[in-house]
Amino acid sequence: MKKNGRFMVGMVGVAAVVTYLAWTGVSEAMVYYLTPVELMQRVEADPTFHDVGVRVSGGVVAGTYQLAEGEHLHTFVVRDLVDEATTFAVEFRDALPPTFSDEAEVVLEGRLRSDGVFEATTLQTKCASRYEAAPEELAG
């Protein structure tokens, strides 16, 4: 049984190392994942929240996409998926993901500036096969 004892020690050791890596990994990569509504609430409650990096998921408001010419500056408005009245403007300076469209669902990473515009550092859009139109939208 002594041999098994040494193995247990070894395995526990490995598990400990992996746990440690996971722990530091979490603290390094951890970011709030909020809806626009939650983001607005937090910012109202705590103005310093403007400096916190967050992840937000929402929907692009159709017709709001614009490309500032020569500047690589994409702007559009994002709304909450549930409460469509809550919106904010987004600025994004990198290349748009190929899946981006006017009515896309997006996941942004960045911060909400004090001027109310969300400065996005990362932008992801949902796979195109995931949008399903409600029956009303299919009419006509």
Partner: protein, 688 residues
């Protein structure tokens, strides 16, 4: 036809339930008539699901837009090809497709075992029918019926998103699903073995081959997904640690662990509980993967909208499967005792155990990171997610250890390795690894992780090549064969071992390719026609790119295209012309007027790197589209991606190795004399 399909789907449920009940009853009572009926019902369910699927395809082909599913994923102008493959374009159809494939594999399992493994088959049929019944229940009762009709008939459908109109959409889901669904078969055999109490060596042989086949499909499916992302979706990225991506990796990790630890059970009669658990867990994880995608509980670019009904049904079923598995294993615990112990820390058993530890550890941490948003929401009330940095931090060290083990495993001795054994077999490879790392260092590479990966990769490749070399030489000498023939015989006499080595070569290439990302080049230029830009690659080459003109096609609705703006770039490498590359912007009729155009990239692949061109912006889009020849200025993004080609090539090698390992040797048909008995003086290695 579609109505017939709908009917077929409905009656497949009672048939599946019938098969389930009769399978269990037949197994309990050992009544052959019940069992035969249960097995036949598997074929029947497959047939009915095939009719149902045909019904959906018929609806697409017939432009039957009164069907909600068809209206969402097709329109009249859609190419025939995409109408047919519309079956798996969305949530509902892909669920039916999943069930269809499950029925297919179940039929194969029953058919190939109609004359053997008979004690297992009653419960195998029963379990397969249970899983089939589950998916049919989901289809019929969770508001995801592909046959659902609207109250009216739209004049035209929404059409298929242009992004999905490429052959990847056609390849990736099926290959992935082939992997996922086929894991149900070894699961059924495992449960059957537990129920019937047949936990001996025969179960091992049976399960191993199925798991290896499923593993092959899953590996290909995952790499196909990576290739799709690389070419179409992610600006040259191929893995994003997205929740659904992670979920597809989990069963792959546990299946890989099983493929290794099962050898310990074969050789030493150990780890029986562990192996059984891995098989059950792998199946559970395939359910988890599809659950994650379909329930939409965790935000992912792959997940459908949140669907609580599906979530609840899936969670219920997964919970039941988990509970049943635990109970069964505990029930049979006495028969799953280990027959031996591990003798030494430095032995092949130990290396395999370590390999398992690493793989399962990786699986746990990936699962943890993926579920973190839900966990944090449950505990703190706020959703917190972890980005790619978490997964990289945990998995890169694990990956390096695994890579090293790939080299160590085959060469270290069973039971206990002596110092001589270690020195003899590892000295040269270690030196090779260090030499390669040093050579790369001296040529300017400084990225620690990449250098380590490539060094270890060289170590492993040296070991594998040496294995082949030593074996071929020994055989050639003793049998008096030429080297080529010797190699051929060597491999065919022990396909598992040599096939496994080939698979490892593929894996090493994949790892080394991943490390290449450390040296990605990303530059952006503004170019007018005639401009030439230069980009240096980390491999020491220089690419000269010249803007050869922007041409605009006005398609006016053909293939849903409004217009295309194509820039032609001539490419030279170190002064030598390489031909042309194009990259373009396209606007589709199915896009909203306000949407930005979509981009098609241009890629040239070389053995050591890929040249990746993206037309990122047109300087003056409206003018360009109206074919104003003065408005041809544009922003070109140029990426150089080192070693990416090794991913696809490595996958091919991996697949080839798996086929070799799976290939049935003629001896398998012969019975006791199959161990081609030869005098011990020859290095005759026995066929599997």
């Amino acid at each position: 036809m579609t109505l017939l399909g709908e009917f077929a789907l409905w009656i497949s449920l009672p048939v599946a339930l019938w098969g389930m009940v009769l399978g269990f009853a037949g197994g309990r009572t050992q009544r052959g008539d019940l069992v035969l009926s249960a097995e036949r019902s598997i074929y029947a369910v497959f047939g009915l699901l095939a009719i149902a699927s045909a019904g959906i395809v018929a609806a697409f082909l017939g432009d039957r837009f009164e069907y909600w599913y068809v209206a969402n994923y097709a329109n009249r102008e859609l190419e025939l090809f995409y109408k047919i493959t519309g079956l798996w374009a969305g949530q509902r159809g892909s669920l039916l497709f999943w069930a269809l494939l499950l029925g297919f594999f179940s039929s194969i399992a029953v058919f190939t075992n109609r004359k053997k493994n008979r004690e297992f088959m009653p419960y195998v049929a029963a379990v397969l029918q249970t899983v089939l019944a589950f998916f049919i229940v989901v289809l019929l009762f969770a508001e995801v019926n592909p046959f659902q009709r609207l109250d009216f008939t739209p004049a035209n459908g929404r059409g298929l998103n242009p992004q999905l109109q490429n052959y990847w959409m056609v390849i990736h889901p099926p290959t992935l699903y082939l992997g996922f669904t086929s894991f149900t078969i070894p699961f059924a055999f495992a449960v059957s073995a537990l129920l019937a109490g047949r936990l001996d060596a025969r179960w091992i042989q049976l399960t191993r081959r199925w798991i290896l086949t499923s593993w092959l499909f899953l590996s290909i499916g995952i790499v196909m997904g990576m290739r799709w992302a690389y070419l179409e979706l992610g600006w040259g990225g191929y893995w994003f640690w997205d929740p659904v991506e992670n979920a597809s990796l989990l069963p792959w990790l546990t299946a890989t662990a099983f493929l290794h630890s099962i050898q310990i059970q074969e050789n030493r009669g150990m780890l029986k509980v562990w192996n059984m658990s891995l098989v059950l867990l792998t199946f559970l994880l395939t359910l988890f993967a599809t659950f994650l995608t379909r329930a939409g509980l965790i935000e992912s670019v792959h997940s459908f909208a949140e669907n609580i009904t599906i979530a609840m049904i899936f969670l219920g079923f997964m919970g039941a499967v988990l509970a049943a598995s635990v109970v069964l294993i505990l029930y049979r615990l006495p028969q799953l005792q280990s027959e031996n112990q591990i003798e030494s820390f430095v032995s092949r058993e130990s290396a395999f155990l370590f390999n398992n530890l690493m793989l399962v550890g990786a699986a746990f941490s990936v699962m943890f990171g993926t579920m973190f948003p839900l966990i944090s929401e449950a505990i703190t009330g706020t959703e917190i997610s972890v980005g790619p940095a978490f997964f990289q931090r945990v998995n890169f060290p694990i990956g390096l250890v695994l890579l090293a083990l790939v080299g160590i495993g085959p060469v270290i001795a069973w039971r206990r390795a002596t110092r001589k054994n270690l020195q003899r077999n590892f000295a040269t490879p270690v030196v090779m690894g260090l030499v390669v790392a040093a050579a790369l260092w001296s040529s300017g590479a400084r990225h620690a992780l990449a250098l380590t990966t490539w060094g270890i990769g060289a170590f492993v490749l040296t070991i594998i090549v040496t294995e082949f070399w030593k074996g071929t030489r020994a055989r050639a000498r003793i049998e008096g064969e030429g080297y080529v023939l010797a190699l051929f015989h060597l491999v065919t006499r022990n396909r598992r071992r040599w096939g496994g080595y080939i698979v490892h070569v593929g894996m090493v290439m994949l790892f080394m390719a991943f490390a290449g990302a450390a040296y990605n080049v990303d530059e952006r230029f503004f170019m007018e026609p005639g401009d030439v830009v230069e980009v240096a690659s980390p491999m020491g080459h220089t690419y000269e790119l010249r803007h050869d003109g922007l041409s605009v096609n006005l398609a006016n609705g053909q293939r849903n295209l409004l217009w295309q703006a194509i820039v032609t770039v001539s490419v030279s490498k170190d002064g030598e012309p390489q031909g042309l590359l194009t990259t373009e912007k396209r606007q589709y009729t199915t896009q909203d007027a306000g949407s930005p155009p979509m981009t098609e990239v241009g890629v040239k692949s070389y053995p050591l790197e890929d040249l990746y061109l993206i037309l990122s912006e047109l300087e003056d889009l409206p003018a360009a589209v109206s074919a104003d020849s003065d408005a041809q200025g544009l922003y070109l993004q140029v990426l150089v991606k080192p070693l990416v080609g090794w991913i696809w090539f490595g996958c091919l090698i991996l697949a080839a190795g798996t086929v070799v390992a799976l290939w049935p040797s003629a001896d398998r048909q012969r019975r006791a004399s199959a161990d081609s008995v030869e005098p011990a003086a020859e290095p005759a290695v026995v066929a599997d």
